[in-house]
Assembly symmetry: D2
């Protein structure tokens, strides 16, 4: 359960009091504001604030005085053009601020995206809660036998049980010891900034994370990708659903040109042209390595 009743009450209070503004507003986004969308067993993503909408992207691209064209179809076409030709600054003109609760090992991947502002809950100053990510059975994947960095099928039976037991028991024991070290009657208590070192990487942390739409889409392209680790991908997918409601034209262009698109090398383009002219190209005659050829075949066969 990601929220306490007190936290839910604070959120409800925020959602109960709309105020007038002269800024651009996105109705799709207003519906999400403040609400915690659950992710994993104790995590969430919730929108704290946003700036801009689809029209704001176009307004900036045109450096216009007002809202620019009133024609939605013109805006959609311009956004597709900007996305297709890798114009990034108009998409930087929209901004989002999220409150995210997430396991530490996910946070460690996430923070590698540097073009963002972050305020994380401080374990030097405060005491962390007893909340750990324990995977659902179907997410308890084996090491891939073909890919050093990937996952195979889910573990089963006794092995799965054993793994879950270890994760639960080690988390609880480490947290018991964390509590015991920081304070107990008749003792001084270890500094919080030291005691936290005993906590495993599946403990939950939380942060405010703010970035612009261009960098957010780059984050989603990498983290909503099937090759991303499942535990960060579910966050990326939850954010993607929010973005689709916030800036629907930008989202559709992103899906077409980035998420669903693919980049071909010069070598691959040459093969493609030969194939379209009717030639039978093999790996040997392609100029590609075995790995590249496999990826290429998958791509053109769909």
């Amino acid at each position: 359960m990601p929220l306490t009743p007190e936290q839910q009450a604070e959120i409800d209070a925020l959602r109960a009091s709309p105020r007038p503004t002269l800024r651009a507003t996105s109705e799709g986004m207003e519906a999400h504001l403040h609400t915690a969308h659950p992710v994993l067993d104790h995590g969430f993503v919730r929108v704290i604030d946003y700036m801009g909408d689809d029209a704001a992207i176009c307004q900036a691209a045109r450096v216009s005085y007002g809202r620019g064209t009133k024609s939605v179809s013109n805006d959609a076409g311009l956004i597709r053009y900007l996305m297709r030709h890798w114009h990034s600054t108009p998409f930087e003109m929209c901004e989002i601020k999220l409150h995210v609760k997430l396991p530490v090992f996910v946070a460690r991947q996430w923070i590698r995206h540097r073009t963002a502002s972050v305020n994380e809950y401080s374990a030097r100053y405060s005491i962390l809660d007893r909340e750990f990510y324990i995977p659902a059975r179907e997410a308890l994947a084996a090491q891939s036998t073909t890919n050093n960095q990937g996952r195979g099928a889910a573990l089963e039976g006794e092995e799965a049980e054993r793994v879950l037991r270890i994760l639960r028991e080690d988390a609880m024991r480490c947290y018991d010891h964390y509590e015991a070290m920081i304070a107990r009657e008749g003792q001084q208590g270890l500094a919080r900034e030291l005691a936290r070192m005993n906590l495993p990487a599946n403990i939950y942390t939380q942060w405010y994370w703010k970035t612009d739409l261009h960098n957010l889409l780059h984050f989603l392209r990498l983290r909503a990708d099937p090759h991303a680790q499942y535990e960060i991908r579910v966050y990326a997918e939850a954010i993607g659903r929010i973005v689709a409601d916030w800036v629907p034209h930008a989202w559709r262009a992103f899906e077409d040109y980035r998420m669903g698109g693919a980049t071909l090398s010069a070598t691959a383009l040459t093969c493609l042209r030969r194939m379209l002219r009717g030639e039978a190209v093999t790996q040997e005659s392609s100029g590609m390595s075995a790995g590249e050829w496999r990826e290429f075949r998958q791509l053109i066969e769909g």
Copy 2:
């Protein structure tokens, strides 16, 4: 006159239609939204959008679920603490988007601040307007005789007249030729991206510029400083007045700790302690160079 009637009408339309939002709003900032504040002879600064307010700074610093404490005095104290101890990320949680019209030589200084998003009016695609910055008489400063990078008193009499005449005539002639090169009956016309090279650096350009409050304050510290060039300083001062209405607590802390504050070296601190103990310190006994000593004396004498 910075705005045409059509532009003013677009702005009026934007200001006439408030919409409800669940986001944090700043009443002081709403009063500024979209309005063009004149700067120099044809320039302006106007707020297109903003995110956050004083409370949002505290909310991020606390990673809180709601708006946090309702006590304004607590928020003010926390903001002062954050500013005093150089915490930057909570101030990054506020964002501003400006539309600025400014001479090219000012834009060239401004763009050196890299942590911002910019969309500039394209002179490859569009034709620039015939608008040039011509300094007011009192801003027509002589080269400083003591500071290679500064200004002395204003020029006077015939010399001032001559300079103004040169600036006006060269601007007009270069613009006439710009127009003549890009299109005239019976000719193809030079590409716009080439023709613009004939335009002097006092021509006006415009851009959308978006940055966060932390980086904005850093910009203001450098560009609202008395040592900054007058023509960018007036932009910084206009933005400063807007920020004072947007996030009044952050602004007051910034004025106290940054704009009105000063950094002393270890050497200067040692001198100060000696002086407070009643010792008469001279440049010779200070360990400072002549230049540093002069700056130090000015600082402590106020």
Copy 3:
């Protein structure tokens, strides 16, 4: 002529005195160090310093203790893999510092790439030289009639003559006035920071520009592209030739996957699969706009 004899002597002195280092060195790059490669009529690009080589990319990707594998073919394969899968941080581990002399209107495009460090020659402090870019006859392009942002064929005959005459005369006259304003006997002289506003955008400036290989390749992808303005493209091409000698494996991967490659949208991929299965796809049945279909046909026809 981009260099004075004194400047050439300084460069010769630097090239005459090799020193021992324990750092990674690139022989291909050492041959370029300090030498000014001419670009346009008065500009140049010269390498001041660099960090890393092809092996350094691999070493960082492997977080290794020594130089890693001694096998060059392994390094080449790893670099191709990293480039193909959009790994950016290993390429950030190489760094380059350039001294560039370039027209102001080129500098204004260049500076939009924000992830770099820049020290520009100061026209507040110093007096600019009388050097202006005047296009060669074959670069004197007309405005494109099909593309608002592009160039058509070169101007010819009297029109070309007239344009060149304007550019030369306005440059000389503006510079004469610049000189006249800043100093003349019996007058104070206008502040340099003001006088420079009279100089047109084809005057040359110079700067030190430092960036990492990842961001440099991104710059080259955009600025060595046929759609980039010719005057910045020639700088990008000069830098590209240097990079090819500095990190040859990374350069070849970049040429294959980025410069010679192309990104296809989801819609385009679907069309491609239909065509490979023998279907005759038309724009109407493609789901693409006319513009996208035209770009797609060009791509697959080569």
Copy 4:
């Protein structure tokens, strides 16, 4: 013991083979190259590569063609001037690349400095080593009773023993289970990217970290500060000793103006001027809060 014999042999090989270069070299830095400086119980900092020296800072500030002035005292004076007046870009012209081995909870603080390039050892791909930070007895600090974010005196006697026992045993048990989950005969083995979540935050990781001198000094100002957590401070101090040998003039200016200096607010400056004129200022008449007054008294009393 931070290094295996094989790793030491790789480092020795690198240090045995100097090569000629035409780049700027720093003799002080060459002496450090590749050598692992031990930090904490298993960690280290070692320089992999660097770019620039003190003269390179001046060369960029002057945008010069050669090495500029040969006078070391001029360079030192210019560097002091640049540091005193907050010029940042010339310091960005030097770059350093470090290989660091550090506990995960230290890495989590470190990574908050975003203007750097990082390649971290991948626990998705590889198996982490059984190495954990266990504090020395004298670093086993109690929670501060006056500062929520700080440390008090070291724990003693039985309490210290108990804490060390917990840290050691939990680390070993969690690592045993990590190993047991990823592979054992007759089982598939949990994916490495999942198994790592069982490892506590005192496990060691390692990365390549590259940044420029300006951002490095900012990092050192915050992390070598007495208020920084001890475990990151010792890394900052080790790096500081290296920087002092690399760019000795920049380091001395940094020590004087940043590390040993202090920033006074406008309010504090006013008090100071009153005190220097002989007035007895109290907290009540100072306009400062109790906390600010205490910090101010400490500063001026030394």
